[in-house]
């Protein structure tokens, strides 16, 4: 039963995985080969840009696509608990979201480990991207689960990202004592992962990881509950 659900999700999302891999790994390969810019610029662009791009691409199609083409009703009427369907969707979504970034990491290690940056540093950068992508996907799905079209789900994803950016900017205004909101904003938004990996502020990671795990878990519970209710919308 679960295998069948995975098969369906794989068939629906494999082209996104292929697209992400070709686009991002192509960029990394060409960028590292041409050496127009520093390797770090390529890595950061692939990790940060790639995670945002893939989260948007996957998050748009995970639930909203099925709502817009009307097949969600059939899926929810099957003799399977809706939370299982949702869990499989999220698992496949996460795989497709992080797959190209992990691919870029492997390619970067093969092509440029030890050239300008050590292998462990390259891995750190990409893991920051992977974590950011997963958190963005979780937030996007949780807040966009009731959107009736992919475009609107995409807008929710962009809005989520902009809210995070806005929180970071706002926290900079109150950076001086007695507020100290700057670090708090890095913990409640996934930008803390980049702070920890890009800027090597490793001390923030023990705070960011558990906070993001708790937030992510709560959002997934909420999303799973709302997913089960999607069949209840008035026709």
């Amino acid at each position: 039963m679960i295998k069948s659900l995975f098969w369906k999700e794989w068939c629906e999302h494999r082209w996104k995985l292929a697209y992400g891999c070709v686009l991002l790994m192509g960029f990394v390969a060409v960028g590292l080969r041409s050496r127009i810019v520093q390797d770090e610029v390529i890595f950061v662009f692939a990790a940060v840009g790639g995670s945002i791009l893939m989260a948007l691409l996957v998050g748009m199609g995970l639930v909203a696509a099925e709502r817009s083409d009307g097949s969600l009703g059939m899926l929810l009427a099957l003799p399977v608990r809706s939370w299982k369907i949702f869990a499989v969707k999220m698992a496949m979504g996460t795989l497709v979201c992080v797959g190209p970034i992990v691919g870029c990491m492997v390619l970067s290690l093969v092509m440029a480990a030890g050239r300008e940056m050590s292998a462990s540093r390259i891995i750190e950068l990409y893991l920051g991207g992977v974590a950011f992508g997963i958190v963005m996907l979780v937030w996007m799905v949780a807040f966009g689960i009731r959107q009736p079209s992919e475009a609107r789900a995409g807008l929710v994803g962009i809005a989520v990202f902009m809210v995070w950016v806005f929180i970071i900017f706002l926290s900079e205004v109150f950076v001086r004592p007695p507020y100290h909101l700057s670090r708090l904003s890095l913990v409640i938004t996934p930008f803390g992962f980049f702070e920890g990996t890009l800027d090597r502020s490793y001390d923030i990671l023990p705070k960011v990881i558990p906070v993001q795990l708790v937030i992510g878990f709560c959002l997934m519970m909420w999303a799973a509950y709302r997913f089960g209710k999607l069949g209840r919308a008035k026709e």
Binding site: S4, K8, M74, L78, G231, R232, K234
Partner: protein, 301 residues
């Protein structure tokens, strides 16, 4: 006495403040073809979704095949065949793929029977679902609803959007496949003429309540249109069961339920008119009388 295949008691449901079902009571006898009639927006699909555990009622209870539709949701879905209104399927899948995929969710899936159905329903196994015609799409949805050989089949407006030929074709398949096998068919529709030849029982749902539930033949026999002529007038309050009163040139046409000799005499007495004709109605006309009949209007000749 056999337990009814479907039993609904005091079912209430609201979408926000809009009350869609206002105390629905219904019993569907096992082995019958039951026509669930009602105009668009009357609550047919909502009732069906509650039966399948897709919606939670505000009040009331449903039992289907002896199972509680809210407590035994998965068991209900495994044992019931369901074809949704305007069912959209995964367009990228091929017919053979979607059959195998849906089958993997049902422990009692009968692949041999399904293969026979593919031939019988003339479905192209290799075609993509998105390339099927509307008629083929409906037949595929029917096949998917029957593949696990359910004892109860729920068809929610299954011919919606089909042209008349495809509709007749579809009904032919439904009757052929189900009627002789003792399967209970709960068939919702707003197209009366398609229900009439196949349904043993009908229930009319209007504005969230069942306004009539009866055997199809009994309903046809009990509801009559009578033509009155004379100098009097008809006052609906005087005789019970008047569904509609309309002026027709020099006579008055009265549609009345549970029509019998007593009512005939009562009408002649209260209206001071003579009954000149009694007309049998088809289900379409009966439905119309129940739904849009003007019940309370006084008509003078």
């Amino acid at each position: 006495m056999n337990e009814p295949a479907i039993k609904i008691e005091g079912l209430r449901f609201s979408y926000g403040r809009e009350e869609v079902l206002r105390g629905v009571d219904l019993e569907v006898p096992a082995g019958s073809i039951f026509g669930f009639l009602g105009p668009n927006g009357s609550g047919k699909t909502t009732t069906i979704k509650i039966l399948l555990g897709l919606l939670k009622p505000g009040a009331g209870a449903c039992r289907i095949g002896g199972l509680d539709s809210q407590k035994d949701v998965m068991a209900v879905r495994r044992s019931v065949g369901y074809m949704a209104e305007d069912q959209q399927m995964f367009g990228w899948m091929r017919v053979g793929q979607i059959i195998r995929w849906v089958g993997s969710f049902y422990p009692g899936w009968d692949q041999k029977f399904v293969e026979e159905l593919v031939d019988l329903l003339e479905l192209p196994s290799d075609a993509r679902v998105k390339n099927l015609s509307k008629g083929q799409n409906s037949r595929l949805a029917l096949l998917l609803a029957l593949g696990h050989r359910p004892k109860i089949v729920i068809l929610d407006d299954p011919t919606l959007g089909l042209d008349p030929i495809a509709r007749k074709d579809f009904l032919r398949y439904v009757i052929g496949l189900l009627q002789s096998n003792g399967v209970t068919v709960f068939f919702s529709s707003h197209l009366l003429y398609e229900i009439e030849p196949v349904a043993d029982y009908v229930a009319i749902l209007n504005d969230g309540v069942i306004i009539k539930a009866a055997k199809t033949d009994e309903l046809r026999q009990s509801v009559k249109k009578i033509l009155l002529r004379g100098a009097g007038d008809i006052e609906p309050g005087g005789v019970g069961g008047i569904l509609d009163v309309a002026r027709m040139r020099e006579s008055i046409a009265v549609t009345i339920e549970d029509y019998n000799q007593m009512k005939r005499e009562a009408i002649e007495k209260t209206s001071r008119c003579a009954i000149v004709d009694e007309v049998d109605l088809n289900l379409d006309e009966i439905f119309e009388a129940y739904i849009i009949g003007n019940r309370g209007q006084r008509v003078k000749l």
